[in-house]
Structure formats: structure tokens, C-alpha cells
Symmetry: C3
Subunit: 131 residues, 3 copies
């Protein structure tokens, strides 16, 4: 397993980690198989989406923040970050990618993103390949 | 890796691809392991849900279209398909299935679906097995 | 593949299954690889989230029940559980975990949850490891 850290700078932020994932797969030496990118945090997530126009990321966060308000009637969790936990489970804790010819297979417009929902914090991402 | 194409016929559509996935697993020769069904597009997704009553798919799309409206105040992405990108990350770019006895293990009511959120288009689905 | 059953006691409920997943991985003998926890039902899901404060689970269910109402104008599915199917696809049918040193790698606050969205029922969870 290869892991790396990153620092987020806002409460809600999508940080592209495609390069780090590619480096981890290259370092593993695996040529053909699968690659899991895993988030060991409960208020963050991993997703794949467009990395060409940054407005896509802007609009995804705009939607998520509106759809999952920070404060909602009936919320009990004392830390005030229930929305962060909810977003984490909606987006999901990992993505599984295909590895071919020693590299992850991504569509033309796809990038891998770490999704911060309770930053800013220092976070860890884990990458594991399997042949 | 085995990939296949499909043509979607509506902006939002769930297309069952269970047969194609089963064929890809059979063609791989794998008897025991995992199977990843991956969508290389940023405005589409893969899910597993009921394939017995088509009204389930109808209701899922009804919900998603209402929960993620096409146009929302503050959206910046110029292509006008921010909702498609958002739906893609909510549903997710892949599913990971269990392979046993040379076939994917699905529950009695489960089918695998390609989820089109910005069609109609010609799309690609990738299938990779790992033992 | 190792599978186990559980009984849910409410229509919507998150049941922690971390111990059962750890036992399945230990029983498999796998030291290094991946572990897929799979839900063969179409009105239930698997997720990873905080297992320290039960109020997090409470707030997640509060949100999901409000965001995906049981009855919505236009729903056609005759069984009246379209919301359960929708929640299942939003949360997702499986999680993929990293296995290291013979155990799943989880963050400090992470637990694995079976998400019941149409209980109470007896349900099955499947666990498959791959090296």
C-alpha cells in the first residue's frame, strides 16, 4: 500500500490527485489489474469527474452544499459536521480503477479527486493495487 | 480488459448491461475473484438495482432529475450539464462485483445498469476481472 | 466468498458489520490485497462512516429520509419502496477495502455499515477477498 498526504484549504474542496495515483501505480510495478484509491476519513470522500473545466468542480460543491445543509432540524451530532459525514457516504470512500499497461485507465475528461467536506485539514489517501 | 459500446436514446436513461457484463466475465475465463464495471465518462455512471419492474428505474430517474435540476442559480459550467456531472459522482463511476464459478454473483432482483445522464450518446463500458 | 446474515429491526437502519468483515478477512487467510463487502439486495446498501458517536448514524438517516421521501408525485413502482431503491443506488451496493497484514485497513473513526432501507428483514452480506 502506498499512502500520501495532502493539505486542504477550505471546508469543502475537491483536490485533484490523479498525478499522485498514477505515481503510486507506477511505483507498484503492476502492469495489469485494479487500483483502489481509499479515503480513511469519515468526512471526506474520493470521486472521479471532469478535470478540464474547474467550473464543474465549482458546481458540484455548490450543489452538495445546498442539498446537504450544514445545520438541519433534528441533527444531534455535537461536532456540527453531520453534513460532512452525509456527503462522505453519498460520494463514497473509494474509487476502483482499472490498471492497464502499468497505468490507470481514465476517460479523456476524467480526473481522480479527493473530496474534502470538513476542512481545512491534513488528510491521507491510500492506494492499493491488485493484479 | 474487455470494453463494449452502447447507444443511449435519451438525456437521462438507465440501460441494463447485465448480459454484457456476464459475457465479459465468461470470456475472461476467471472462475473466482472480482469484476469491476467501469464508466470512462464524466456525465454517466454505473449502478446495481432492480431489473424486475421497470417502474423502479422510472422512479429513480424521476427522483434524480428532481433532486438535481439541470439549471441552478450559481452554476458556472458553460456546457449546461452540471447536473449530469453531479449525478455521475452521486451514483459513482463503477461497481465492483464478486465472481464465483465463472459468473458474477448478483442478488435475485439485481441487474447492472449503465446510467446515462447527458445523452443521447454512444458510450463505452469497461470490464476488468482480477483473481 | 464468505457470507453472513443479519436481521434488521426498522425500515431504515444502519447496522455496523465491521467485526463480521474482519472475521471474514481473517478466515480467508489473505494477508495483502483487497476486500469487497457486497450487498445482494436492491433496497439496501453498504457504506463506511463514523462508528464513535451514534448520533452520526442518526443524522445520516434523518437526512436520507428527508431527502428521499417515501411517497413522491409521479412514482409508479407498486411496492411503495421506490425511496428504498433510490437510497440503495445513492449509497451504493458495496465498499472496497484495503487488506494489509491480514486485516482491513480502516481509519481511526471508520466502521463498515449495512444500510437497511426497507426493513425489517433478514439480509445477507457477502465478503470476497482478492490478493
Amino acid at each position: 500500500m502506498i499512502s500520501f498526504n495532502l493539505k486542504t484549504t477550505a471546508r469543502n474542496q475537491l483536490v485533484e490527485i490523479t498525478d499522485q495515483v498514477r505515481e503510486a501505480v507506477a511505483a507498484s510495478g503492476l502492469k495489469t489489474g485494479l487500483c483502489v484509491v481509499y479515503c480513511p476519513h469519515t468526512t471526506a470522500a474520493i470521486t472521479v469527474n471532469e478535470n478540464a473545466d474547474p467550473d464543474v468542480v465549482h458546481d458540484m460543491l455548490l450543489y452538495l452544499n445546498k442539498a446537504v445543509p450544514k445545520d438541519q432540524p433534528g441533527f444531534r451530532h455535537g461536532e456540527g459536521n453531520s453534513d460532512s459525514h452525509i456527503k462522505a457516504s453519498l460520494v463514497g470512500p473509494s474509487v476502483t480503477l482499472i490498471v492497464d499497461a502499468g497505468d490507470v485507465v481514465l476517460g479523456r475528461w476524467q480526473g481522480v479527486y479527493f473530496c474534502e467536506f470538513d476542512g481545512p485539514r491534513t488528510r491521507t489517501v491510500m492506494v492499493r493495487v491488485a493484479g
